[in-house]
């Protein structure tokens, strides 16, 4: 009970401070709408910290070639990654690549594909929201 309580506090704090401050820096109505659309289906407020954990996790269950998001995106969202076939991937952080997560079709496509590649299943709206919140805070 105690840990759950703490998580909620941290999450709320993250949204209030971390989330709010960064969204001022790189606000984009289209992106905000996308995050909001996930929020309606999520169980709890989004957390950049959980997003970070998701980004760095090696959950297993996916394809052996892609154990983690970081396999292709690299460990820092501020830096460019590389596909397995050698194509450059622009940094995931919104502060570096301003057009990120502004097109619903693209966001859906890449979540569908990459969650399946890494985890063997689609991501939940909660996970998607956490992920986008993390990348928006960066």
């Amino acid at each position: 009970m105690k840990t759950l309580h703490r998580t909620i506090v941290i999450a709320t704090a993250a949204i209030l401070f971390g989330g709010a401050s960064s969204s001022i820096a790189v606000a984009n109505p289209a992106r905000d709408d996308i995050i909001k659309s996930f929020a309606t289906q999520a169980e709890m407020p989004f957390s950049a910290e959980r997003g970070k954990a998701l980004f760095e996790a090696k959950p297993g269950g996916g394809k052996p070639e892609t154990p983690s998001c970081t396999t292709c995106h690299g460990t820092s969202p501020l830096k460019a990654g590389q596909t397995r076939a050698g194509k450059l991937i622009e940094p995931m952080a919104v502060s570096k690549t301003s057009g990120r997560f502004t097109e619903l079709k693209k966001v859906r496509k890449w979540f569908r594909r990459n969650c399946k590649s890494v985890m063997g299943r689609e991501c939940t709206p909660q996970e998607k929201g956490d992920f986008l919140t993390y990348m928006s805070s960066k």
Binding site: K63, P64, E65, T66, T83, R84, A85, G86, K87, K105, K109, R112, R113, N114, K116, S117
Partner: protein, 370 residues
């Protein structure tokens, strides 16, 4: 002064320049053909063009040149050739001021083979590479057959060159004349007691006029040929979906690099695309599948479309899994593929600078040093 009296100018300057230029060009052709890696092909082709020009010149000079350059002076009858061979067998060859019958036979053989090699070379260039004046009229299959003939003829040429050199050495020993020196300074020594022959001078103006007329006619014919578009290359508009969707993760591979069956299999298995989920929205997938089917290898007649049509049965749409790909890249070490400028095996364009066009010309290969 007495020394000069038994010397006679045998080889005129054009014949000597021809001989040594041919040595350089043929050596270049052989080295770039048999030894050098593919990307020397540009030099190989120019050596071929140079060789055919030299041979045409020599044939014309064989009519208008000075006495001993004229073909008629070394067009021996079979009886004379056999007689000379017999003399050689008994190590007592008679002295000839110009070419002896054995040498003459070698000249005709070399000219015949060199000419055949350049013709088959042009067919390979036009058929396999879709380049050169015959690109518009030569199919890949013709080029492929010509390539085998080209190689066999070149091997025979190597043997002939060896025989030519051995022949010169043997004759030099038996007749005690320095034939190599003669081919540089043009002079030969007349044996004592032999009267110098009456020699006719060359007719350079007639030769030049003849060559000019020949160049004009053959040049026009070649020009007409070269205006034809290369056979087996079709017009292809870009498909934006293909470029962006596939190009997000990897190089945009030219549709001609795989046959229809491979593309179809690939497009129905995008959920597990070489270890990744690459699924697409249905309408986008349909547009890409149609584009690939229309422009697959079957629609082309290029070296790549023909070669990569022999797909690997295990991974029917992985170009690097084909036997041809593996064979062509067997000489390239794993370290080269790891270089920063290369990246990995999936990045054709790192080295094949024209990969996006599907041409894959040998001359367009450049392996990054880093």
């Amino acid at each position: 002064m007495s020394n000069h009296e038994n010397k006679i100018k045998v080889w005129d300057i054009p014949t000597r320049v021809f001989h040594w230029s041919l040595v350089i060009l043929v050596a270049t052709g052989l080295i770039t053909g048999f030894v050098s890696p593919e990307w020397w092909m540009g030099i190989h082709i120019w050596a071929g063009y140079g060789t055919v020009l030299l041979i045409i010149f020599r044939l014309v000079w064989g009519i208008f040149g000075s006495e001993f350059s004229r073909i008629e002076t070394f067009a021996f009858t079979p009886r004379e050739v056999i007689a000379h061979m017999r003399e050689l067998l008994f190590l007592r060859p008679l002295h000839y001021i110009g070419h002896n019958p054995a040498g003459a036979m070698m000249i005709f053989a070399l000219i015949f083979f060199l000419f055949s090699i350049t013709i088959t070379g042009l067919l390979v260039l036009g058929g396999e590479e879709n380049q050169g004046p015959l690109a518009g009229v030569t199919s890949y299959q013709v080029g492929d057959i010509a390539a085998d003939i080209h190689e066999v003829l070149a091997l025979i040429l190597v043997v002939l060159i060896g025989l030519h050199v051995v022949g010169v050495i043997v004759e030099m020993r038996l007749t005690r004349e320095n034939l190599v020196k003669s081919m540089f300074d043009g002079y030969k020594i007349i044996p004592e007691g032999k009267t110098p022959p009456v020699t006719r001078p060359s007719r350079p103006i007639a030769a030049a006029a003849f060559l000019l007329a020949f160049a004009a006619i053959s040049g026009s014919v070649l020009w007409v040929f070269s205006t034809m578009p290369p056979s087996g290359i079709i017009q292809m508009a870009e498909n934006k979906d293909y470029t962006t969707e596939c190009g997000d993760c990897h190089e945009v591979y030219h549709p001609s690099l795989l046959p229809k069956v491979s593309w179809a299999k690939l497009m129905t298995g995008l959920e597990n695309h070489l270890g990744e989920d690459a699924s697409l929205d249905r309408d986008v997938a349909a547009s890409i599948a149609a584009y690939l089917d229309t422009h697959a290898a079957e629609a082309w007649d290029t070296e790549a479309s023909n070669r990569f049509s022999r797909i690997s049965l295990d991974v029917p749409y992985q170009i690097t899994a084909t036997a041809y790909w593996k064979r062509k890249h067997s000489g390239i070490s794993a370290d080269v593929f790891k270089r920063k400028g290369v990246g990995n095996r999936a990045r054709c364009a790192s080295c094949h600078r024209d990969a996006a066009t599907g041409h894959f010309d040998d001359q367009n290969i450049k392996i990054p040093k880093q």
